[in-house]
Assembly symmetry: C2
Homo-oligomer: 152 residues x 2
DNA sequence: CACAATAGTGTGTATATGCACTATTGGCCG
DNA sequence: CGGCCAATAGTGCATATACACACTATTGTG
């Protein structure tokens, strides 16, 4: 990658090859690829497991709640739920205010998540050990802070 | 966001809500949205400007060269070039070995990039000032190192 | 009770992403 | 010289992403 071509300690962040947005997009792709290659025998993609985990933690949630919590566009969530409903991992239930429905894991969804978690933990640890837990914690917190700062 | 809900200094990286992959994907989306909202009057998306910048720096390149340099899948590049060719910013030229062609910026592409760069610099600086240049440099270098370590 | 305002959800369009597969073509070798 | 082969490029499929818009149901107000 381009960053690699810089040998000096300080990147020139004025140069487009060091565009933060582009480089974060690249990093995101790289880790997504690792995630998929390490875990694809579960048939769960990086967009799907957070949905399952969120529903397991919250018992049930509406579309709007869930998309807010996951920080993804509501309509993106609608479509990402498609394969999960199709495969019987998530079901939508009764109606509330507006057209409001509730989403919840099916038994099959719970079981898929339980089987998934141990392997996920291994993959996560493989990632964490590249920089160490302390550094990763700091990086994730800093990135979140920056992302929130910039989008408000 | 979920990370936000953790108050203690140390994140428990064993918990799926702190999945590195998921959180980096979220951060990537967040910065992409900022990028688009700050720069969309140029009509150039976050996948397109790196292509233009790369071609400006390298004069010309084949598909394979370019996808390698940008760290994106070759077939993704093929499609991302679609709108750029359609809009007359990039042109493909002669043939080499195999089906090899060369890609280069058109005058219109050069001009669009020139007009784009000053506004990009402002957006980049807005991002950089959230954590400071030193910290961002460290983070980008760490992330690249981790991404390379994990995918090999 | 009718109706406007509101909230929740779904769809059409466009781009992004990558794997598996196909197509093309220049050059080498028999 | 002609066919094979390796290198390069493009397509089909499935999913991901988000904006703009349409649709549906609830609720507040007159």
């Amino acid at each position: 990658m381009h960053i690699h071509t810089i040998v000096t300690k300080e990147l020139s962040l004025d140069s487009m090859e060091n565009c933060v947005c582009f480089n974060l997009r690249w990093v995101s792709r790289a880790f997504s690829q690792y995630f998929v290659s390490a875990l694809n025998h579960h048939g769960l993609l990086p967009t799907q497991t957070p949905i399952l985990a969120a529903l397991a933690a919250k018992q049930e949630a509406s579309m709007a709640d869930l998309s807010d919590w996951l920080g993804m566009d509501r309509t993106t969530l609608v479509r990402n739920l498609g394969p999960l409903k199709r495969d019987g991992l998530v079901r939508a239930t009764g109606q509330g205010r507006g057209n409001k429905g509730s989403l919840a894991l099916t038994p099959k969804g719970h079981s898929a998540l339980e089987k998934f978690i141990p392997d996920w933990r291994v993959a996560q640890q493989n990632i964490v050990k590249t920089l160490g837990a302390k550094r990763w914690t700091q990086i994730l917190q800093d990135l979140e802070r920056a992302a929130l700062a910039v989008n408000n």
